[in-house]
Symmetry: C2
Subunit: 464 residues, 2 copies
């Protein structure tokens, strides 16, 4: 009977004296004077390796063990013992070692040295085998679970909003087209592409947000959230933009802007706390090798109430800053990254929520405040990263919404279903959106967003 | 201080004598001889309504309460009391009632009567407000959470595989094209569309499966799963096909077909058990109004070990059936729905796993068995629904995989990265895929798959 255990479990429970089996990949081999070898094995279950002692008495010691190189896949059975060496409490004394797969050192790209992230991106099918990228993957998985757990604890329902959409949210231009037409032989009618012959009988796009569809469900189930992929066909080749990214969008009926902000703050603190509780080794690695300031940044989110200031107050702070911003600030302009960072990093040195933005710079669906000049919008700004969440109370009043749709130059008929939500059983409601990768950048300290998603899609690049 | 509670909480905790507030939508109003009215309120938190007693002494009783109709959105504050009436333990004696939004009976499409599912599909932005569709949404949310919880308990990591892909899995033809090119003015070169000028510098599609990419992560983290949208541009206008659906695909290193089957059985039982434990009211509704046989079907999954038979044995059962199938069976043909249902519904009357299928009818990545005729594939067949899961042990041997790629007529260069997984640190590994909507159909008893996804995408239809 094999007692196959994962390394995380062995390191946690330290089953001294027990016969166990592990399966994983060799990270390094050190030979001690021809007497035995130390093998560092990683099985992906955690950052740490398990040290295996391979004695030369093993039948395949000269023929196989001494030929093991970084990346080989093996099975080791043996006994767990206290480790006399430094750096580990237990080690595995091998009784048998079986090789599943070799990794020829002359061709295997991942040798025991530090590789640049740029290089690793080119071998994205191998990069999760590195310490850093494996750690990112585990943190990403833990935080995705934390998202679901948070909302479930808060009595929300998950809604899968559509990926392929025929409603053009906000009239956003930068959408990908989805089509089953043969591009080499596009059907045409009256000189234009005949989308009526396409799969859905009309033109279709990849979604840029599930918010409007989530509102449908918020007005039926009360509190819902989405967590799915969203897309932008923007030619933004920066360290903060992806053409495909995952977004979390809660939407709550019977909720105003203050409650929306409170939930968002609670959510962010929950996620940071979850990462600290469940991914301590990984965060430690990031703090040592990726971003020295990471522990302080994370603590800073947990330890303080977020500052709340209106857009009008924010503009005053910026105008009183006594410095020349690249983009001059006056009431009515949108805040740029430099402004957001000044507020959160220099004025308050902690997360800041800016709310009540000018109506003219925000989308039609945000609720107009009584001053008729601002809308009940909010952005959460994090030191070191800028905007991490954007949200608003939605316009729940039919007449005002219809007016805003017209003012925005949109076609009211296209939003008939959205207006129906205000015709029938309308209720105050609010929500927000968070780009999951932006948050992953914050928690890992990764400078480039391409490192925090398994398969980044950017202008000119979509491997696999 | 308002003590706003959701109705599910009130019905669970029965806070007798307490002042509470609820917010929700009116389902029905009954007036009792001008003395008071019964209001049935639903807030989406659960299937059940809370009964509100609105006395005529309320200041807005004649002006508002008596005008409330199905679908109105209201806030009620009052005291929880034991209910003398039948059908509920507690009721809310209203002190104040505030109307958030009306729902004019002459135009609101959802009146108190049963609507056909076909009709509801046309008003998909309102259908989650019905009992049946609200119940489906809650079950869907619960089961999505159960998926994550199951795999987390089993030590898996979630991996977000790409939605936009440039690798053409299995050379599957029926994929949607994703493009940022202007279809009205396609750039051309040498008489063909110049995809090199497209967003990603090459042609791109919507994924049909995350399996191959999940294998990348399985060979780094050990055990991973995906849960994301997948797409088929197939012109299948049936009650079981969607152009956009959600798929769950676990992938495990150091795992063979027997372990793969064991995990899949455990997974299915976990999900059914979770639904029974967490969605009792909803399943009860489905059992009464959608599929009378539902309770027995669900119990049947939990109460028995799944049958395991080889494909070869399955063919014998079918040949010995003494009946004329529409599609005649002989060794080497793929099993059709009629065959799968015969096996699970008539021969065994419980879930059946058929494994070791002929090599010739299965994709290139499945592991060839020692007989050289079959591959280590498996399908799980459910009574009443047919195939619910398909999986296999993957070909981990480089030479065999390269051969299979060639035999399949695929271009080896396109699979270089996939072959790399076998060049470097290869290990036996296996996985399976489950269409989430197919499982939702099983658990809810819904005959048409369009009822179990919020926004169905089918040939000719993609509302919103």
């Amino acid at each position: 009977m094999s007692n196959y255990l994962r390394i995380r479990q062995i390191l946690q429970t330290k089953p001294l004296g027990e016969q166990v089996e592990i399966r994983g990949w060799l990270r390094t081999r050190r030979d001690s004077k021809g007497e035995f070898s130390f093998l560092e094995i990683n099985d992906g279950s955690c950052l740490a390796n398990l040290q295996v002692i391979a004695d030369r008495s093993l039948p395949n010691y000269p023929t196989e063990v001494l030929k093991l190189t970084t990346g080989c896949s093996i099975r080791v059975a043996g006994k767990i013992a206290a480790s006399p060496g430094q750096g580990q409490a237990v080690e595995l004394q091998a009784k048998t070692i079986e090789v599943y797969g070799w990794a020829p050192a002359e061709s295997y790209p991942l040798q025991k040295k530090r590789h640049s992230f740029e290089f690793l991106r080119k071998i994205a099918h191998l990069r999760p085998r590195t310490n850093s990228m494996g750690a990112v993957a585990r943190v990403r998985s833990a935080l995705a679970f934390a998202v679901h757990q948070f909302f479930r604890e808060q009595d929300f329902f998950l809604v899968h909003t559509p990926i392929i959409t025929t409603s053009d949210c906000e009239g956003a231009g930068e959408m990908f087209t989805v089509t089953a037409l043969d591009l080499e032989n596009l059907p045409r009618q009256n000189g234009r592409v005949a989308f009526e012959k396409d799969f859905f009988g009309r033109a279709a796009n990849l979604t840029v947000s599930g918010q409007l569809e989530a509102e449908i469900y918020a007005l039926a189930l009360g509190k819902v959230y989405t967590f799915g992929p969203t897309f932008r066909a923007e030619n933004s080749n920066t360290s903060r933009h992806l053409a495909e990214f995952w977004m979390i969008e809660p939407e709550m009926s019977f909720c105003d802007l203050a409650e929306d902000m409170a939930l968002a703050e609670k959510f962010l603190k929950y996620l940071v706390g979850y990462a600290l509780d469940h991914c301590a080794d990984e965060l430690d690695l990031f703090g040592r090798f990726i971003e020295k300031d990471l522990p302080r940044r994370l603590a800073n989110v947990l330890d303080h109430d977020f500052i709340r200031i209106t857009y009008t107050e924010a503009v005053k702070f910026l105008q009183d800053a006594g410095r020349a911003f690249e983009f001059p600030v006056h009431w009515g302009t949108d805040l740029q990254s430099e402004h957001e960072r000044y507020l959160s990093e220099e004025v308050f040195k902690r997360p800041v929520i800016v709310y009540n933005y000018p109506k003219t710079i925000k989308p039609f669906y945000m609720r107009v405040n009584d001053d008729q000049q601002t809308v009940a919008a909010m952005d959460i700004l994090f030191p070191g990263i800028g905007e991490i969440i954007g949200g608003s109370q939605r316009e729940e009043r039919y007449e005002q919404l219809a007016l805003r749709i017209s003012e925005a130059g949109l076609n009211q008929a296209d939003y008939d279903w959205y207006l129906d939500l205000r015709r029938f059983g309308s209720a105050p409601h609010a929500g927000f959106g968070m780009g999951f990768e932006r948050f992953m950048q914050f928690v890992t300290g990764m400078a480039n967003i391409r490192e925090v998603i398994p398969f980044p899609r950017t202008p000119g690049s979509a491997l696999f």
